[in-house]
Each structure stands twice: as C-alpha cells, then as structure tokens.
C-alpha cells in the first residue's frame, strides 16, 4: 500500500501544483513573481526523489505489481486504472521528472520578465503530470486519456504567446496533425473492444497492457488472441499514433512550427519528453511489435528515413531552434529505427541521453536568445567571448549529439548502429542493413549541421542580433513597398521577438538559467558511459547495464520472442566507422564555413546556397508543408469537399426544392409568403428526404 501510494504521488504531486497555481496563485497572488515556479519546483523535486526510489525498487526486484482500480464498465469491457511500474517506466520517470525539474528552474530565469508566469507554470505542471500519468498507465484507455491530455497541454504551451499569429497557427497545426496520427491509435483501441470477448474467454482484460502482451504471444505460450494480419494492423495503428507524437515522416511537419512556444517548453516537451512519448508507446507495446515482422519493418524503415530526411532539412535552416527541431525529429527517427531492428535497449538508452543533451541545446538556444534577442543565426556570431559558459556547454551538447567519444550521445548512437548492423531475428537482414546505411548517412549530416549551427552562433564577428534583424526587415518592407505588395509568405518571419527579450545585451545568462544547464551538461557527458559501460567495469556498474536492465523487462513480458533480441558487444569497427563519418561531417562543415566571412555583410550568403535548387528544395522543407496546407487542407479538403457540400446545401438542395416549392406556391399556397422562400424549400426537402429513404429501403 505504501509503495503504491508513493508511486501515485509521483503523478499527483505536479497535478497538485497545477491545482494550487491555477486556483489560488493565478487569481490572487499573480503579482508574486517566482511563487508559482517554486510551487512547482519543490513537488517536482520530491517526485524526482520518489522516481529514484522507484527505479531502485525495480532494480532490486521489489514487487511493484499493484491491483488496478475499476474505473468504468462499458458493456463487456472492463476499464481499469492502475500503475505499471516496470523497467521502462522506471527509466522514463527519471527522464521526465529530471528534465522537467531542470527546465522549471531554468524557466525561473527565462520567463522572469513575462507577465504570464503563473499561467506558464500551471501549464507546465499540467503537462508534467499528464506525461507522468502516460508513463505510469497500465490500461490502454487510461494511457490514451493521458496521451490526449499531453497533446492538449502541448497545444496550450505552443500557443503560450498567443499574441503572435505564428504561435497560434503552430499550436493548431500540432493539435490537428497529431490527432490524424491518433486516428490509427484509436482504431487499434476499437479493435481491442472487438476482441474483448476473446480476451475474456482467456481470462484476460483486453485493455490491460500486460494482458495485451500476453495475447500477442505465440500459441505455445497460451496467447495468440492477437495474431496474423490483425496483429500487424493493430501494431501499425499504435505506430501511427506514435508517429504523430514523435514527428515521424509523413507526420513530422508540426514539430518545427511548434518552436513558436517559449524555449523552455521546446526543451521539455518538444525535445526531451512529449515527442519521445511516441517512442515510449512503441516500446511499451514492444511484445506486440515483436510478433509482427511486417510492423517492425515499417517502424525501422520509417524511422531510418525520418532520421535521414529531417537531417537534410536541418542543414539549411537559419533559425537555431528550427535546426534543433529537425535534429530532434532526426534523432527520434534513430530511436524508432532502433526499435524496428530489435535494438530495444539501445532505443530507450538513446531516448535517455538525447533528453539530456537536446534539452541542454535548447536551453543554450534560449540563453543565446536572452542575449541577442533573436533566434536567427544569421544575426548572431562571435558570442563565445561574451557567453563562455553557454558556449562550452553548447559545444559539449553538440558533440554529444554528433556522437563523439566519450560523450553520452556516442554510446547510445553506437549501440543503435551496432544493433542495426548486426540485426536481430525480428526483421529481415536487408532491413537492418538499409537502416544501418541510412543512419550512418544521418551521422554525417548531423555532424555537419551541428558544426554549422555552433559556428554561425558563436564564431566569427557578432552580426547585430535583433536590432540588425529589425533593420533588415524594415529595409525589406520598404523595398517591397516600392516594388508593390508582397506575397504574404514572403514577409520574413520575426523570430523570437517576444517583446520581452527584444534587446541586445551580450552577457552570460543569470544563474537560474546556467545552473540547470550545468547539471544537464554533466549528464550529457557522463550519462552514456556510466549507465551503459562497454568494457571498463571499475565503476561497479555491470557492462551493458541499461540495455540488460530494459531487456529483462521485455523478456519478462514476452519470454519467447525476446530471445530473438541479442545484445551485441561493443564493436571497434563500427565505433571507428561512425567516428570517422562524424569527424568527416565536422570537417566538411569547417571547410565550408571556417573563416569564410564576406566582411560584415548581413545576412551573409550561406555557402550551401551554391547548391541552388537543392538548397531551395531543402529550405522549402521538400514542399511538404505547402502540399499539406496548400493542396490538401486548403484546396482539396476545405475548398472542394466542404465548399462543395456547402454549395450543394445552399444551391442544389435549396434550388431543387425551390423549384418544387415554386409549384406549390403557385397553386395558391396555403402557407403564404414569408420573407424568404426557404420554408417551402425545407418542407419540400423533408418530403424528398423521406421519399429517398423509402426508395433506398425498397431498392436494397
């Protein structure tokens, strides 16, 4: 009982903060800056402590199987609420509470001048609590509830600065696109409803996640309620939801736009936790995915393709947060690909290390924005002298992202590459080879864009920050005015002009911002080797610790299939190859950018623009956004379908019935004339409608 209460507390502590901030602080004590921050930070620290305790309990094998509580009964389906604390959950709890705590401390500094801090921290508390609920859910409906709540709080936070139209549009886009992915997830859940009776016959509950694992096992293990093609479609439905949340191709286009939210939000939600929820979801249902080679193949190939494609788009972005956003999509692709080829431990391990260094990179971007007022790298430069601490931390995090030994990112990326190279019994050999090649290509691009980002931000001469950006924009507007009206999409987007930060004061950020960055910096250096040592055993941690640990979880859930996953030893060859590729990428970047300054001309020409049409294609994001919004949403959906129906409603139906109504009117209608002829029309429509139904019934 005590243990269960302690784990529930991890979820309820931030929820209580949300209640206190929303109901007490915001209405009555809104003036007291930082109060709401502390109301969130202190419970979060407690939740982190409890998460560490939970991890320890899982490690020592303490019994954490709690009976779920009945929530509702719908027909023959029983829906419960409960806690699922296994190896995966324990790791996720640490990631979510840890990163969230760091981000909240950072926000104390970053949001200092924003008047909406109570609202901000309330949303943050809601998000953190929903994310923890998602990670802890034992029931798929319960999980779905939190899944949506996470989406709603993300919506609120992206649109936090709602006076900016771009933020508004981005929030809406994120909400709608992730919901498109959720259709698949919901259909998968509906399929469970369909199978509820079969589950019940085996004494299983169709929504209880461990029971779903059980049902996906081969017949020999007393499972196979889910099997064959149905299982593949079920798994793909779940993956569709996961792809929406994790920004996998073709549902990736919302994530870069989501960068309109405050930067700490990007660090927490759109780098470390919520976007990783998709990876978590696939990992959560891994015993199901294992049973379908086809589903895993799709996961692997989509993941690998996303990893590569997003990296190409990151090459040409000028907004530092957008570079990071595409980088995040790309790294999530690595995780998905790892899951697809059977490197389960490596995927979650990469999720962990990525959370630390990507959150740090975002915080760095926020810190830089704090100083320069802009997110546009073309107006930065030369910052390393003014902000040495931020610089060092960003370089560390960047190299960790590139995968330079011995930083955290190296170990997890290496584990993924090793897993992909060796493959597993779960997918065909060619799938893992193709995945390996794409991921290796991704390493080259990652190294290149990371170098470009760090160089443009911190080296060379300072190019004026937001002041210069505004000048250039004014100049552009004046030019446009003389040349005639500009097309709306040609107006340069103002990046990061939140009003509060729109002042250039080149100096290191306050302690509240730098301190959490230091903590994450330590994690970005050490977390890789310490939790997953490869050959040195002197720290008292067994080799391959985290992968082994996570694998015990899957083996416990799916004893037969998990045997087909092998843990591969560290391979010097693969490590050497990936390091050479990464260094080559950095070198290529250096070759193109180092000391190539055309004086102080701002914005200076990007060397990549020499690539002409390719550059255009990449900076237009392969025209996918244009396709979605222009062709699909605006033209096909809105204009054609909705427009046609509206037109039919207005003209065709009204028109037809008008014609019939006209006859009635002219036979000395009893109804008489109203202001419009519509009443006759509606009456006739009723008659026609009933005739239509009668005809339909007679014909079929």
């Amino acid at each position: 009982m005590g243990a269960e209460a302690a784990i529930w507390a991890i979820f309820f502590l931030p929820l209580a903060s949300f209640g206190v901030i929303a109901l007490i602080i915001r209405p009555f004590l809104n003036r007291h800056y930082a109060l709401s921050g502390f109301v969130l930070i202190v419970p979060l620290a407690a939740a982190l402590g409890l998460s560490i305790w939970a991890l320890r309990a899982v490690i020592v094998g303490q019994d954490l199987d709690f009976d779920p509580h009945l929530w509702l009964e719908v027909g023959s389906a029983t829906i419960e609420m409960g806690l699922l604390v296994d190896q995966l959950t324990a790791i996720m709890l640490i990631v979510v509470t840890g990163v969230s705590l760091m981000v909240q401390v950072y926000s104390l500094g970053y949001m200092r001048e924003d008047t909406g801090h109570a609202r901000y921290f309330a949303y943050m508390a809601l998000f953190t609590s929903a994310m923890l609920g998602l990670v802890l859910s034992i029931n798929v409906i319960q999980l779905y509830v939190f899944w949506e709540l996470v989406g709603v709080s993300s919506y609120l936070l992206i649109g936090f600065w709602h006076e900016r139209p771009a933020a508004a549009a981005a929030a809406k886009k994120a909400f709608i696109i992730t919901r498109i992915g959720d259709v698949g997830f919901l259909i998968a859940i509906l399929y469970l409803f369909l199978q509820a009776d079969q589950f019940a016959a085996e004494n299983l509950n169709a929504f209880h996640i461990p029971d779903i694992w059980q049902a996906a096992q081969p017949v020999a293990m007393g499972g196979a309620i889910l099997g064959g093609t149905a299982l593949t479609w079920f798994a793909l439905g779940i993956f569709s939801g996961a792809a929406g949340k994790s920004g996998q191709f073709p549902l990736h286009s919302w994530l870069p736009d989501a960068m309109e939210g405050p930067t700490p939000v990007s660090a927490l939600i759109h780098a470390a936790t919520m976007v990783a929820a998709g990876v978590f979801l696939v990992a959560r249902f891994y015993p199901v995915f294992q049973a379908s080679e086809d589903a895993l193949t799709v996961v692997a190939l989509i993941g690998a393709f996303t990893a590569l494609m997003a990296a190409t788009m990151a090459l040409v972005m000028n907004d530092i947060k957008r570079v990071m956003a595409y980088s995040t999509i790309s790294q999530l692709g690595y995780m998905m690909a790892a899951l697809g080829v059977g490197a389960y431990g490596a995927a979650v391990f990469h999720l962990l290390t990525h959370a630390s260094f990507k959150a740090l990179l975002f915080m760095g971007a926020g810190s830089v924005n704090h100083a320069t007022g802009t997110f546009d790298m073309r107006y930065m430069g030369g910052l390393w002298r003014r902000m040495p601490l931020t610089y060092v931390l960003m370089v560390v995090a960047g190299l960790s992202l590139v995968g330079i030994i011995p930083l955290a990112g190296f170990w997890s990326k290496d584990e993924i590459l090793t897993g992909a190279w060796n493959g597993s019994g779960l997918v065909d050999g060619w799938v893992s080879r193709v995945t390996f090649v794409m991921l290796l290509g991704g390493v080259l691009l990652t190294a290149f864009y990371t170098f470009r980002m760090l160089y443009m931000t911190f080296h060379g001469e300072f190019r004026g920050g937001v002041d210069r950006e505004l000048e250039v924009q004014e100049q552009a507007t004046r030019d446009e005015a003389t040349r005639g009206p500009a097309a709306p999409d040609q107006v340069p987007a103002t990046s990061g002009l939140s009003g509060q930060h729109a002042l250039v004061h080149l100096a290191e950020s306050p302690v509240a911002m730098v301190a959490p960055m230091l903590v994450l910096g330590v994690a970005a250096v050490f977390s890789g080797y310490l939790v997953n040592p490869q050959w040195v055993k002197e720290f008292g941690i067994p080799g391959h610790w985290i992968s082994e640990f996570l694998l015990t979880g899957v083996e416990h859930a799916a004893p037969v299939l998990a045997d087909r996953i092998e843990l591969h030893d560290f391979s010097r060859w693969i490590a050497t190859i990936s390091t050479v590729v990464a260094v080559a990428g950095l070198g290529l970047g250096a070759l193109l950018y180092w000391r190539r300054q055309d004086g102080r001309q701002v914005p200076r020409r990007d060397p990549l623009e020499a690539a002409g049409p390719v550059h255009t294609l990449l900076s237009q994001k392969y025209y996918i956004d244009a396709l979605y919004e222009g062709a699909l949403v605006r033209r096909a959906f809105y204009r054609i379908i909705a427009g046609t129906l509206d037109w039919i409603d207005r003209n065709l139906v009204d028109g037809t019935v008008d014609a019939v109504g006209w006859i009635f009117r002219n036979i000395g209608s009893v109804i008489g004339r109203l202001q419009t002829g519509q009443v006759q029309a509606y009456g006739t429509a009723i008659a026609l409608g009933s005739l239509l139904i009668l005809l339909g019934l007679l014909l079929f």
Partner: protein, 513 residues
C-alpha cells in the same frame, strides 16, 4: 381517473402548474426580476415528485402497471398510454435539469425584454411538460400529443423577440414542425391501419403473425409495404426533432435566428426527449424488424455526422456552426441507437443493451457540454451583440474566464478527455463495434477528428487573434452560475462517469422488452 393515476402524472401536473403560476405571478408583481427565481424554486415541486416516484419504483419496473394495482383493477386509464419507469425517470430528470439551467441562463437575456417575461418562462415550462410526457408515452396518439405540446411552445419562444429574424425563425420552425407532424401522423395512421393498434405493445404483437410474401416470394423491409411506409414516415417526425439528416435543413436557420437560450433548450432538452421516444418506439414497438431499421439508422447516422461536420467547417456564425455541430452530434448518438441490435442469425435480431446505454450517457454528457457552450455564447452576444466568429477575436483578453469556459465546452464537444463526451464517444463507438458496425465506428472516429478542425479554429480566434476592442466582457452572477454548473457537470461526467453509467444501464432495462 383514480388517485393513483393522478400520482403517476403528478410531476407533469406540477410542471405545468409552475408554468401557469409563473404567468399569474407576472401579472401581480412589479418586480420582474423575481420571476426566474420563482420558476426555479417552483421546479422543486416536480423534482420532489419525481424523487418520490424514483424511490417508489425500487422493486417494480413500471409504476403504471404495478402488479398489485392491476390485480385490484384500480388502474386502467393510463395503462396503455404511459409508462413510469427508470427510462422515463432518467429523461425526466435530464429535462428537469436542463430546464432549470436554461432558466438560470436566461435571466440576463429576459431582463432586456420589456414585457411578456412571465410568458417566456411559462412557455419553457410548458414545453418541458410536453417533453416529460413524451419520454413516458407508450402509445402513438399520446406520443403525437406530447410532441405537439413540446413543439408549439418552442415555436412561440423562437419568435419571442419579435424582431424580424426571430419572427422568421419562429414561423419557419412552426411550419416545418407542422409539416413533419403531418407526415408523422400519416405514418401513425398507416401503422394503426395495418396493426390495428396504437399501443407499442399491440404493434409489437402484430409482428408475431407470419409476414406475407409479396411479388413472388420476397418479404419487403419491415414485413410489409404499409409498415415500411408507416415507419419511414414516423421517422420523419422523430428525425425532425433530433435534427437528423435529411430532416436537418431547418436547424442552422433556427439556431441563428431564435433567442439563444431557446436554442440551448431546443438543442439539449428537446433533442433528448425526442431520442427517448425514438428509442422507446423502435425498441418496444418495432423490435422484430430491428435489423431493417438498424441498418437504416446506421446509414443516416453516418450521413448526419459527415454532413454536419463538413458543412460546419465553412460557417462564420457561431450559432450556425453549433447548428451544424448539433446535426453531427445527432449522428453520433444515432450510432448508439443503431448499435442496439445485432443479428443473432437467420434474420433474428438480438437486443444489445450497450447501444441504448451509450445513447443515454451521450445525451447527458452532450447536454452538459452544449449548455456550457450556449451559456457562454449568450453572455458574449449580450455584450458584443454579434454572433460572428470573427468578433470573438481576442476574447481571451476581454474575458479570460468566458474564453476558458467556451474552450472547455469545445474540447468536450471534440471528445477530448477528461470530459464527459470523451467517455460517451468511447462508449458509443464500443457499442457500434459490439453490434458489428465497425465501419460506422471508424466513420465516427474520423468525423471526430474532422470536427476538431472547426472547434479549434474558434479557440484559436479567441486566444490568438488581436482583440477588436479592449472593452472587458463581464457576465452576471446568474450567468456565471449557469456556466459553472454546466461546466462542472461536463468535467464531472468525464472524470467520474460511474453514476451516469449506472443510471443509463438501469434505465434501458425497460427497452429489453
């Protein structure tokens, strides 16, 4: 009519009585502000009587046919025409709650009127009386009278403002309802002519006789052509009330023109009562041909959802938008009705309780969410005098709480947790799956996503577009109370759905026949 009969209809009498008293009170009091308080306090009388009946019902299914009374021959008048059971009580409570909330939400609105304030509340109460009669009616003529009693006051209310738009809305509503009533009455006549009975029980019994084949062997849907036509014509009347495609055309016009509180009442209470009678007639009267109407309603459900949602996208007036939204929601709810039957094999229908259960649950959750939305819209349109969505720009600035409440209502209408309609949609799509209508469940899920588009658009306008005016929007205490109660109910049904689920399950036992 014995004393017991009076007891059975006492909630109805009390409701009508309160209506009359409010009108009389209006004549004598100069303080018109007391009228709504008087009306709401008056609702305690039918509430208490309903509660008494509720506890009285403990062991029996239907108070009208209580075994002991029938044996002594005491009760006779109402036996065939009414049923006081858990089903009727569920809906009576729902109608009562909606009536109380609508009166509370009308206070500000009515205060602007120079005269006839008493009549306004009186007409609402009369209409509610009709709805309470409708939900317990078990005989076609009673159903017809109850429907008219429900509709006529609503037509008067729709025209109540006496502005050109309001009068037009009232007149349209009146005429369309008259047309659909006439068609329905013709259907009833056909059914009576063919089965020789107007009671649901008698109609059901007539199906026991073997169907006669026509045209060389084939049996038409519903057993015979006369029944086919009769049932479809009956469906016209019900379809009009629940705003189902293809009888939905009046909805946007009335929603736009009629007084907003009246529209709220129409979209919640009137819809619920019409669904109640639809369920009762189709499950008790026509159950033997349930497979025929099951598929018909499934198709109409899909059409209502799809047309409602798609046309809603291009609306620029928030009330018209909610009109199309209510058509779409009628579609979702019809899914549950269609899911009430499943083929047991060889054309024999089987009752699936979860279908009607989900309908009742959905109606409750929808009432809470839709009332929240309408109360906010009333408060806003009273201040800014416009229902254009563009005029909602920057509402979050001008009144953060109203914006949050409307967002909550829309989140609920999309079906996002933790609100009641999320559970309701889950419930209704589960029902569809259990009844073998997987395709319909998928259509429903896709429709929910489409609907997110236009609701989110309004949320976006409120929060993200610059305000056209800096003037703050406030609401009176009564409006706030109405919004708070309806909003709290929306969340409560979503977080703790147990009570509503159990009530719905207990109520639909009656439909199992």
């Amino acid at each position: 009519m014995s004393a017991h009969d009076v007891y059975l209809v006492s909630p109805l009498l009390a409701m009508a009585g309160v209506g009359i008293l409010v009108i009389l009170f209006d004549l004598v009091t100069p303080r018109k502000g007391l009228l709504p308080a008087f009306a709401i306090l008056g609702l305690v009388a039918p509430l208490v009587l309903l509660l008494i009946q509720f506890y009285d019902l403990k062991d029996s299914v239907n108070l009208v046919r209580e075994a002991g009374l029938l044996a002594s021959g005491e009760s006779g008048v109402l036996v065939d025409s009414l049923s006081v059971d858990r089903f009727s009580l569920f809906f009576s409570f729902l109608v009562l709650a909606a009536t109380g909330l609508v009166i509370l939400g009308s206070v500000d609105y009515v205060r602007q009127m120079e005269r006839n304030q008493g009549e306004y509340f009186g007409l609402i109460l009369f209409s509610a009386t009709g709805m309470m009669l409708l939900v317990s009616a078990t005989e076609l003529i009673t159903i017809y009278i109850a429907l008219e009693l429900t509709t006529l006051p609503l037509a008067a209310l729709a025209a109540f403002l006496m502005t050109p738009r309001s009068s037009e809305a009232g007149m349209k509503f009146f005429i369309i309802s008259a047309i659909s009533s006439a068609i329905m009455l013709y259907g009833m006549a056909l059914i009576f002519g063919f089965t020789g009975s107007t009671t649901l029980e008698g109609i059901a019994a007539s199906f026991q006789e073997p169907a006669q084949a026509v045209f060389g062997g084939g049996v038409p849907a519903f057993g015979s052509f006369a029944m086919l036509v009769g049932v479809v014509l009956l469906l016209v009347g019900f379809g009009f009330k629940i705003s189902m495609v293809p009888f939905q055309m009046w909805v946007p016009d009335i929603y736009e023109g009629a007084p907003a509180p009246v529209v709220a009442f129409l979209s919640v209470a009137s819809k619920a009562a019409a669904f109640a009678v639809l369920l009762r007639v189709f499950f008790l009267g026509f159950f033997d041909v349930a497979l025929d109407w099951g598929i018909l309603l499934a198709v109409l459900a899909a059409a209502s959802m799809t047309i409602g949602n798609l046309v809603a996208i291009s609306q620029s007036n928030i009330r018209r938008l909610l009109g199309y939204s209510t058509i779409a929601h009628a579609g979702y709810i019809l899914v549950g009705v269609a899911a009430g039957v499943r083929e047991l094999g060889a054309g024999v229908p089987e009752f699936v309780a979860i279908g009607p259960n989900s309908v009742l649950f959905y109606l409750g959750a929808y009432a809470a969410a839709n009332l929240t939305a309408f109360f906010v819209i009333i408060a806003i349109s009273m201040r800014i005098g416009s229902d254009r969505i563009d005029d909602y720009a920057g509402l979050a600035r001008r009144s953060p709480l109203l914006a949050v409440a409307l967002t909550l209502a829309f989140i609920a209408l999309i079906g996002v947790p933790p609100t009641g309609i999320f559970i309701a949609k889950l419930y209704i799509f589960t029902a569809a799956v259990e009844a073998g209508l997987v395709w319909l469940a998928i259509v429903g899920v896709i429709n929910s996503v489409v609907s997110a588009y236009y609701y989110v658009r309004i949320i976006r306008v409120m929060f993200l577009q610059p305000a056209t005016s800096e003037e703050k929007i406030t609401a009176s205490f009564s409006s706030w109370s109405a919004i708070a109660i309806a909003g709290a109910a929306t969340v409560w049904i979503g977080v703790a759905p147990g009570l509503m689920l159990r009530a719905a399950e207990a109520a639909t036992v009656v439909l199992a026949g």
